[in-house]
Amino acid sequence: MPRPSGAAWRRIGGRVAQYALVLLVAVSLNFAIPRLAPGTPIDYLVPSEQVATITPEQRERVLAQFGLEKPLLEQYRLYLTGILRGDLGVSAQQGRPVVDMLLERLPWTLVLVGGAITLATVVGGGAGFLSAARRGGRTEAWGLALFMFLDSMPPFWIGMLLLVFFSGYLDLLPVFGALPTSGAAGGFGLTLEFAQRLVLPLVTLTMVRAGWLFLVARSSLAGELSEDYILMAEAKGLSRRQVVLGHGVRNALLPLVTAVAVEVGTVVGGATVVETVFSYPGLGRLIYESVLSRDYLVLQGAFLLLAVGVILANLLADLLYPILDPRVRAESLR
């Protein structure tokens, strides 16, 4: 790979700046939403069952504790510095630092989301390429319809149906949580338990997300296969298989990379509902719990963390793309 030139560095710098901007927007949204929302801050800061009974003194104390009596700009500054120090506040329900609660859940979600994206890319992308390479056939057309169906099914519903079959009828897999609540086995047993509990959420998430990647892979390979260089490759004497794999798929991988990066945001959204269905102790489940218990600071913190993850994934794809595609390398910033 050629070493990055001045233009490439400018490009990287531009991308990083852009995503820093996105992050700032996400943070600002987080700051602004509660302040724009109807009702008083108190509604969001004390456990919901205490809101009705709170005394004026307690009220003052809470406001002071969160710096809410200060001017808005000052509040914003405090908020930003807080985040930089890794302080996302304290959960109203559990009284624990929000950051701790988030970090405890993060690994579970990382495994689920990472696994689902990988699987969905392999399964969906692979099938999509296959479908594009064999266009015109009956199987191909029905494959398309099938994946569009998958793409259209609500993830939580698929999750519920899988629960019905695998635990309700077949009683095959333990389904709730990621680890047995009691009697931790440790070592290999623990890993196995963990893997078993991961299976259903992972399958669910993969199923729903594979459809979209199928469509992207199919359309980009179909596009590449209609290009002139494919004809030339065949005229050189390459077999159809070599042409499709060595030239078509190779080039069609590029749009797929972008699609996968964009997917991260959607998969994270899907994970939220899937984790809820399976009581899988990731960030999504945490979000659900905080919605139910009206634990707003936790909710906001979780959103922020997910935003950071999605932004990092997008940044990674953006930086990866020029390495894969020399044409992009040649361009400077748009």
Partner: protein, 324 residues
């Protein structure tokens, strides 16, 4: 000159929503060893379909009708099983496709693309193939420092040279070039044609050159075949056809050529519209636009017949027997 390629009764059809069209309609042609045959035709004449058919690269909804023959060195390539074709392509016969500008894979360096043409056919190691590829690139005029460039880093002329290198790298018996210079600047066109002429000399290349540009084809080719509406309407020695065109269509084409030397003549244009392959006239395809048409032309479909040694034309004006 012995015959290298002999095509007989080639028909290629396309299925469309409006019905089937015959893009190549019963074409017979031959190319001699070390000879360049020029196939001239305007849009819709079927020249590109002809070139693609000879490579057996016609894709659905198009197909080559059974019954045609394509003898290359006496072997009928149309009879080969489909699976054997890849081994022949690039080695027995090579293609320089239309829009060569886009014929290179945008994400692979050009020398690797040329080398791929070698490795796919043989025993050569990757390294040896790359070396040969670079030699060929130098031969077609690409300086060594550009060999590992990506296509988008090269100009149109350079890309065209790369495609030519790719076509000759396995020393094919026959090269089929489809519009090798269209879309390039005139100076570059001239250079590419010079390159083709040079290669013909140095490697005694046999070639079929397909183009819309009659004067250019006349310049580089030994013989010419003029196509109209999927058929060959006139063939003969290149200069003779250009200087003494027989078929009214060829004549009109010659008169439409602007010249930079010689007396300034008015340019002629052919009245009417290019042929619509869905609705061809019952008689001669050119009859609706033909200035010399007479009554029989509306009903009799002229065949390609020899009128002088080495000269064939499909026009009733020259067919004594069909005239009455």
């Amino acid at each position: 000159m012995s015959t290298l390629l002999e095509v007989r009764g080639l028909n290629t059809v396309y299925r469309t929503t409006e019905g089937q069209i015959r893009a190549v309609d019963g074409v017979d042609l031959s190319v001699g060893r070390g000879e360049i045959l020029g196939v001239v035709g305007e849009s819709g004449s079927g020249k590109t379909t002809l070139a693609t058919s000879l490579m057996r690269l016609i894709k659905p909804p198009g197909r080559i009708l059974k019954g045609g023959e394509m003898l290359l060195d006496g072997e009928d390539l149309f009879r080969l099983p489909r699976s054997e074709m890849p081994a022949r392509r690039g080695r027995d016969l090579a293609l320089i496709p239309q829009s060569a500008m886009h014929a290179l894979n945008p994400v692979i360096p050009v020398d690797k693309q040329v080398a791929e043409a070698i490795t796919t056919h043989g025993e050569a190691s990757r390294k040896a193939a790359l070396r040969t590829a670079r030699e060929r690139l130098v031969e077609v005029g690409i300086p060594p420092e550009r060999h590992s460039a990506y296509p988008h880093e090269l100009s149109g002329g350079m890309r065209q040279r790369c495609v030519i290198a790719m076509a000759i790298v396995n020393e094919p018996k026959l090269v089929i070039a489809d519009e090798p210079v269209s879309g390039l600047d005139v100076v570059v066109q001239a250079r590419i044609l010079r390159l083709i002429s040079d290669l013909k000399e140095s490697r005694s290349l046999s070639m079929m050159l397909v183009s819309h540009d009659l004067p250019t084809v006349t310049r580089v080719c030994d013989r010419i075949a003029v196509m109209y509406a999927g058929r060959i309407v006139e063939t003969g020695e290149a200069r003779t056809v250009f200087e003494k065109p027989l078929h009214p269509y060829t004549r009109a084409l010659v008169e439409a050529v602007p010249r930079v030397r010689g007396p300034k003549q008015d340019l002629q244009s052919i009245p009417g519209d290019p042929p619509d392959l869905h609705h061809l006239p019952p008689g001669c395809n050119f009859e609706p636009r033909c200035p010399a048409a007479f009554a029989d032309c509306k009903t009799v479909d002229p065949s390609l017949e020899e009128v002088e040694p080495g000269r064939k034309v499909a026009c009733l004006l020259y067919h004594d027997d069909e005239r009455e």
